[in-house]
Every structure is written in C-alpha cells, then in structure tokens.
C-alpha cells in the first residue's frame, strides 16, 4: 500500500501544479483556495475528532492563531509572508500541545466546550488588544508575490493556488503515512478504548498530546494559507463559524476517513457560492441539504463510496516470513527450577473505596513460569487485586514488585512496557476494526517508533513494521484466529472475541499475563478452546495470573491457587489442597464464617 499511496500522491502533486495553469479567473482560483483551506481545517478537526475521538468546537483557535502569527510577523517584523508562513505553525502546535495535555482531565463534551472557550478567549483578545492587532479593523497584510511564480509563468493568484494545493496534499499524504504507523494505530486505540490502549502499553498522554499538537499545526497552516486571499486578518477568524465549519465538514464528509474532510470542506466552500443565484435563501438551502445528508447518510458522504480497500488500508503490511521474530518467551524448563526470586511479589496491599475495604493486607508471590489461579466468591476482591497489580488503581498501602522493580502506583502503560499485560473482564476490543488491525495495534510495544521515521517511511521503519506484522500474524495463529484476520472484531462470535482479547495481550509480548475471567460466558466447546490455548502458553513458559469462576478449569490449568475472601487471603496452595480446605468450602458454600462468627452472606454468590 505505501507504494501505491506514494504514486497517487505524486500524481496529485503534478495535478496540483498543472491545475493552476488551467484556471485563469481569480474568482475560481480564489474559490479553490478557500475550498482547500477549509479542507485542511477539516482535516485537522478530523485528526482530533475522527481519529482520536475528542469533539472539538474550537479548532478556529489554531486557525486564527496561524493567520495572526503570519500576519503580525509580516507586518510588525517585516519578514516576508512566505518565510513567516511555516513559522506561524509553531504557536498552533504549542497551543495544541497545551490543549492536548489539558485533555488529560477533560473528556467528551468538556473538551468540546473548553476548546470553544479557548477560541473565544483568543477572539476577544484579538478584538480588544487594539494597539497590537488593530482590533476589529484587523491586520492588513500586503500581497506577497512568490519568488518562483514568474519563472513558471504563473500569475500570483495561480502560484498561490499551487502552493495551497501542494500544502494540502502534503498534509493529507503525511496523515496517511501516520495512520498506517504505530502513531495512527495508537490514536485509534485511544478513540476506541482508553483503558485497553493503556493496558497494551500505549502511553495515552503522549499520543494525545502529539495528536492535538499536530492538528493544531495543521489548522494553523490552514489559517496561514487563507491570509493572501483575505488580506485583512480579523478576529472573526477565531469565531465559532470557522470552528463549526471545520467540525461539520468532517461530519458531513465522514469522520475518521482520510478523504471525507476534503469532500466536506470543499462542499462548505463551494456550495454557498454555487447557490449564490438564489442569494437570499442560499443558507437555508444549504441547511436543508445538510439535514438531508445527516438523515439519510449517517456515516457521512464517504459512506457512499463502498470501497473495501479504503476500509482495510491501514492494516495491510507485508509480512515476509524472514521477518518473523524468534520466540521471545523463556525456555519452559525455567519453571519450577528451584526457588529463585519471584517474578511477581505482592506484599501487604490494601485498598478502600470510600468506606468499603476492598482489599486488606493481601500478600502472595508468583514464580517465573508459574500459572497462579486467583479464586474467591463474588466481591472477594479479585478484580480489584488485578487492577491494583496492573496499575489501573493505586494501592493505599503495600507494594507490588514485578521482576525486581516496584511498580505500585505506576501507570498501566509503563507496567505493560515492563512486561506485565492484562485482559479485561468485559470483552474489550476495537470492535470497528479488523481482527488484524486489532492485533497490529497491540504490537505497539514491539519496537519504539520515532515520529520522523514513520513520516518518512525509512527502510528501518519498514523493517520494524514488517516485524510487527509478522508478530501479529504469529499471535493470531497462536490464538487460532488466523482465518478471521480480515473480519471486523465486533462481528466475531463471543468465544472468539474472548480469544482475540487474549491475543491482543499476547501481542504486547508479556512476561506475565493477567487474565480477568477469560472463561466468563463461554460455552463448553469455547471453554475447551481456551483451556487448550492456556496450556499452550503455559508450555511456552509464559507466567500467568488468572481469575475465573470456572473452578474446574482453574483446577486444571493452575499450578497453585490463592483463595480470596472479603479482600483477604483465605488459603493458598496446590489445587487439590485448596479444594479440601475447610474455610474455602465454607466461603463458597455458606454457613458460619469461621473467625468472626458473623453469618456469611456469600452463599448465593457461589459460582454456578
């Protein structure tokens, strides 16, 4: 695919250079410029809204900031506009990084309103700081001829159009590259499920900041490129109209598609002009068209183009057999070899939620290569324990040591990077993406990727991508899902979805795998498939901590079992021993609680 995309891009670049020759009317070249600028603005919105999943009402903040920076640099410092243009992307990127960082705490509608507010603050500043910006009168930017235009025999309007089209093309091509890289995959992962992304080692903070900063730079560039068309930069550039236009163009064209924002942006630029002959009511007609589209085409205009290639474009990576990595797991015979330092050491952890003491002073260890089962009645604190170990909640007391390092209180992504990867009780998958794309996202930790190498698609990057693809293929084969690679994850039957969830964790190449109720809801055949997979992993020497209610399975796969009750350890030992333990029987079957004498209420929770 990358080759095809490069060819298409080269063709488009030629067209972008040739097209201006054909357009002699300044009106039409101006209209095309405006369409390209709105397309670029919409593309920046699509990065944040379509790919990262944050609704932004304030993309005009970056748009206006770009225009004002370029204009003020030109007017105040006398720098040539074309030199100022690339510089003017920097404040947009910086503001984007700031907003992206702020979005740590702001999800959903809050992010939308905060971005709208940021744009309003800038608009009001531009309107009221009259000494600097001339307020509502605006900054007058003199026309700046391009150095090469006469050489090419182009008028200024034509040369300007060529520059704008090439810039748009560069942005779209770069975005295409990024979406096919670990960056794009991380964004989609964050959009679909923040927790799953973290659990697979994706540092959600970093990738969010990068996304919003890049989108800020793109929106700023769009603003910069609008300047030669409008000459006067006014506070309206920060206004809600542009923010809304960008957002709505994305929704109209199709969010999360590469070309949708281009189509939407062009329509927003051109349609009101085309409708000029009905002058008075053109906005009304435009509004009615919008309504018709939204009612009849929920996925935006791009949903009309039913092209399977576009749908699958980002999960196709060539995976030559040669790139297959050697198995990363240690040899099986490490298991039960004497008693070396434990892989996982949980000491005395406690956690209270408000008044409820969910976990009190729990300690246990897990040896390298061991399969440890964690059982207990509902509400015993099993999932809390797993959340504490994997970093999704922080213990109030106690420590968690993994491979000799204290990981208590670390972020889930950091813990995943160190080799401890979990699955979730609910089937958490990237449901709208293919099975292969799911697993490719999960190979995030296989190799660190630099932004520039992904953008330039260097040869070492291609090698790493091939390695990731091979790893994904291997994991799919292990989980027995290879035949499902091109199906949407959400369309798999439930049992296979559970297997895919484990495959995702495996793609993160864990040393210790934490499974949270992997057998929940499985029928007998599916449970047998799961047991077979667990045995396979165990034989490969993978250490596993498993929680489940299916006691038969737990007894079959576990080397050792820890029993939790009311957030405390009730018993510990080999399956047979634990099964015969009187307190365990009492906890599961009810009766009187041995120590405190209070009547146990857990009987009805006993697993079926």
């Amino acid at each position: 695919m990358p080759l095809g995309a490069s060819k298409i891009a080269a063709g488009c670049a030629l067209a972008a250079l040739a097209l201006p020759y054909a357009i002699t009317s300044p009106y039409y070249s101006g209209l095309l410029v405006y369409a390209a600028v709105l397309a670029m603005l919409a593309t920046s919105v699509n990065m944040v809204y379509g790919y990262l999943g944050f609704v932004t009402f304030g993309q005009a903040a970056f748009f206006g900031l770009g225009a004002y920076t370029a204009g003020l640099l030109t007017v105040k410092l006398g720098i040539s506009y074309w030199v100022a243009a690339p510089l003017a992307m920097l404040p947009g990127a910086a503001l984007g990084a700031l907003v992206g960082f702020a979005s740590l705490r702001l999800g959903g509608a809050y992010f939308a309103i905060a971005s709208l507010t940021a744009a309003e603050v800038l608009r009001l500043l531009a309107a009221n700081w009259v000494d600097f910006t001339r307020g509502p009168l605006g900054v007058l930017v003199p026309a700046a001829p391009l150095p090469f235009q006469e050489l090419l025999g182009l008028s200024m309007a034509q040369a300007y159009l060529a520059v704008v089209l090439l810039a748009l093309l560069a942005v779209v091509f770069a975005l295409h590259r990024l979406m096919a890289s670990p960056y794009g995959r991380a964004w989609l992962a964050i959009r679909e499920s923040q927790n799953l992304a973290e659990s697979l080692g994706i540092e959600t903070t970093r990738f969010r900041v990068v996304n919003v900063a890049l989108a800020g730079a793109v929106a700023a560039l769009a603003g910069v490129l609008l300047v030669p068309k409008i000459f006067v930069i006014t506070p309206d550039l920060f206004g809600p109209t542009f923010s809304a236009t960008g957002l709505l163009a994305v929704i109209l064209g199709g969010r999360g598609t590469l070309l949708g924002p281009l189509v939407g942006g062009a329509i927003f630029a051109v349609l009101p002009e085309v409708l000029r002959f009905v002058d008075e009511i053109r906005i009304a007609i435009f509004a009615v068209l919008l309504l018709v589209v939204v009612r009849t085409l929920p996925g935006g205009l791009m949903s009309l183009v039913k092209n399977r290639r576009t749908a699958r474009a980002y999960d196709q990576v060539d995976a030559p057999e040669a790139a297959l990595a050697p198995p990363q797991t240690p040899a099986p015979d490490v298991r039960r070899a004497g008693n070396p330092a434990p892989l996982l050491e949980v000491s005395n952890i406690s956690k209270a939620f408000r008044g409820l003491q969910a976990m009190r002073g729990l300690s246990f260890t897990l040896a390298q290569g061991e399969v440890l089962g964690l059982i207990g009645p509902n509400g015993a604190g099993k999932t809390t324990c797993l959340n504490l170990i994997s970093g999704f909640i922080t213990p109030d007391e106690g420590s968690v040591r993994f491979a000799g390092n204290d990981i208590g209180g670390s972020r889930p992504s950091v813990i995943a990077r160190s080799g401890l990867v979990r699955t979730f009780q609910q089937t958490t998958l990237f449901a709208d993406l293919t099975v292969r794309h799911n697993v490719l996202i999960a190979t995030h930790l296989a190799a660190t990727e630099w932004f520039a190498s992904a953008l330039l698609a260097t040869s070492s990057y291609a090698k790493r991508e091939a390695h990731r693809a091979a790893l994904a293929a291997k994991v799919l084969a292990t989980a027995g899902l290879a035949h499902r690679a091109d199906d949407k994850a959400g369309s798999l039957p439930y049992g296979e979805q559970r297997l895919l969830a484990i495959a995702l964790a495996l793609a993160a190449q864990p040393r210790l795998l934490l499974l949270d109720e992997p057998a929940a809801g499985l029928n007998h055949t599916e449970a047998m498939q799961l047991v077979a997979l667990l045995h396979k992993l165990r034989d490969q020497g993978l250490s596993i901590l498993i929680i489940d209610h299916n006691l038969k399975m737990m007894m079959a796969v576990s080397d050792r079992i820890v029993v939790l009750h009311h957030g405390e350890k009730l018993a510990e030992g080999p399956p047979a021993e634990v099964r015969a333990h009187p307190e365990v029987i009492q906890a599961y079957l009810g009766g009187r609680k041995v120590e405190s004498g209070e009547p146990a209420t857990e009987a009805r929770h006993a697993p079926a």
Binding site: L116, L247, L291
Partner: protein, 287 residues
C-alpha cells in the same frame, strides 16, 4: 458602593436568562445525551415572538409570553421530529444531532433575518420602576426575577414529584433500562425537548425588553449558556441555575472595570482554569 449594588441587581436578571437557557441545555444533555445546537435560537425566537406580538398584533406584553411558548414549542416539536428524535439512538447520535440541530439553527436564524432584518428592535415590557434603598429596580427586571424563580421552582417540582419527571430522570440514568420498564423513551424525549425550548423561549421573551431584541441574541447567549452548563456540571440542574445567575452578576460587576470583551475573556479563562482543576464542574459528581 451604590453603583456596585445596582450592577448586582442588573446582573441578576441577565443571569436569570443564562440560567433558564442553560437549564434547557443541561436538561436535554442529561436526558438525551446530545448537545442541542439550536437551543440559542429558541431563546432568540422567544424574543422575536414578543416583538411580533407587540408590533404586528398590537398585543399587550403579557400575552406575548404564552404566545412565545406556543410558537416556539411548536417549532421545537418540529425540530425534534426531523432533527433529534430519530437520530439520538444512532451510534454517532451525538455528532449527528450536533449537525442536524446546527442546520436548524441556521434555518431559524436566517429565517428570522429574512423576516425582520438585522436591525435590533425595542420591546415594551412592564413599565415603571421602584427604589430599594440606593438601588433602582425596574418592574420588568423584577418580573424576570420573580417569574424566572417560579419557573425554576416549578421545573424542580416537576422533575422530582411528577410521573413525567421521574420518567425523565429514569431516562437520564439509562435510556435502555427506561425502555425495558416500559417508558416511552422517544415520547418522553420529545416532551423534554419541547419543554426545554419553551423555557428558553420564555427567557427570550422576558429578556427582550431589557436587552433589545436582535436576531444575534441567540448565538450570543448560547455560548455563555454552554459555559454555564459546563461550569455547573453537565446535566446538573442546580449547577445551571447557580452558575447562570453567578455569571450574570459577575459580568455586570466586571463591566464596571473592564470593557465587555475583556471581561468575557477573563470569564472564559477562569472557566478553562476551573475545568483543569475540577473537570466535573462545580456541581457535578466526581467521575
């Protein structure tokens, strides 16, 4: 000092309008989980009906209030039918409704512009004023405060004590569960949408005599209403009321020292700062 007290009193009535508009926004968000882009235009339309009732029909001001409720309520019913009701249940319901209600806000705004033109219009409200110590309170402002407070109290009673209120609150918790126990979720959604629009229309009709009607008053107010909704915590009724009135007073006080634009910029900056410290809003529950 007198000036200060006067500004506070004036700010209260502007704040009441913010509160009522924000109340509708927060109600719709709480129950339907969508953002109603057209909400500001319902506020504007309420004012517009008051203008037309006086200028075209020659009706006394008091009659324009029920008229505004009837006209805007009917309009909102139509908007809901076309742009909200069937779209909220879609997977991308939030963005689809955003787009469709945006289209309607364009239609309503440009429709008003087409009928009336961009010129502001004066509406005569209740005449006369009285003095409260150093502070002068016009009868219209007193009416806004009294009627607005009654509206809020009435809504509160409706939400907590009536069957309709309980159904709305059930939907706010879970649309699915509400449906399972037999609540007509689509119907309740429509009634909530029309109710919110009617409250905004009343606010518009009440405020038009104080601020001059202009077709732009919808978009000017709705941004501030958004701010109020977020400050108060999405879906929080008490938050919308307290923050709406607070914003009105704060704006009035700041106008003593700062130009209107800078005052707004300061308020918005405060909002962003607060969101970073307490993202769930002042009255929202911690996530």
């Amino acid at each position: 000092m007198d000036m200060l007290a006067q500004q506070i009193v004036n700010g209260l009535s502007a704040g009441m309008a913010y509160a009522l508009v924000a109340l509708g926004l927060t109600l719709i968000f709480g129950i339907l989980h969508v953002i109603n882009f057209a909400h500001g235009e319902f506020f504007m339309l309420g004012g517009f009906v008051a203008v037309l009732a006086a200028k075209w029909l020659g009706l006394p001001y008091l009659f324009s209030l029920p008229l505004a409720v009837a006209v805007v309520g009917a309009a909102a019913w139509g908007v809901d039918r076309i742009a909200v009701r069937s779209l909220v249940q879609r997977r991308d319901g939030l963005s689809d409704v955003l787009l469709s209600t945006y289209a309607f806000s364009l239609l309503l705004y440009h429709g008003t512009l087409g009928i009336w033109g961009p010129a502001p219009a004066r509406v005569e409200g209740f005449e006369g004023s009285f003095d409260l110590g150093p502070v002068t309170l016009t009868n219209q402002r007193l009416f806004i405060l009294a009627f607005g407070a009654a509206l809020i109290a009435g809504l509160q009673v409706m939400l907590t004590r009536t069957r309709f209120g309980r159904q709305m609150r059930a939907m706010a918790q879970s649309r699915f569960a509400a449906q399972v126990v037999g609540i007509d979720v689509a119907g309740i959604g429509t009634r909530a949408y029309v109710l919110a629009a009617a409250v905004a229309a009343l606010a518009g009709a009440m405020l038009a005599p104080v601020i001059l009607f202009s077709p732009l008053m919808g978009s000017n107010t709705v941004i501030k209403a958004f701010v109020v909704v977020v400050l108060g915590g999405m879906g929080s009724v008490a938050g919308a009321v307290v923050c709406g009135i607070g914003l009105g007073v704060l704006e009035a006080l700041m106008s003593l020292y700062l130009s209107e634009g800078i005052a707004s910029a300061v308020i918005y900056s405060l909002l962003i700062a607060m969101l970073l410290v307490r993202p769930q809003g002042l009255f929202g529950k911690a996530a």
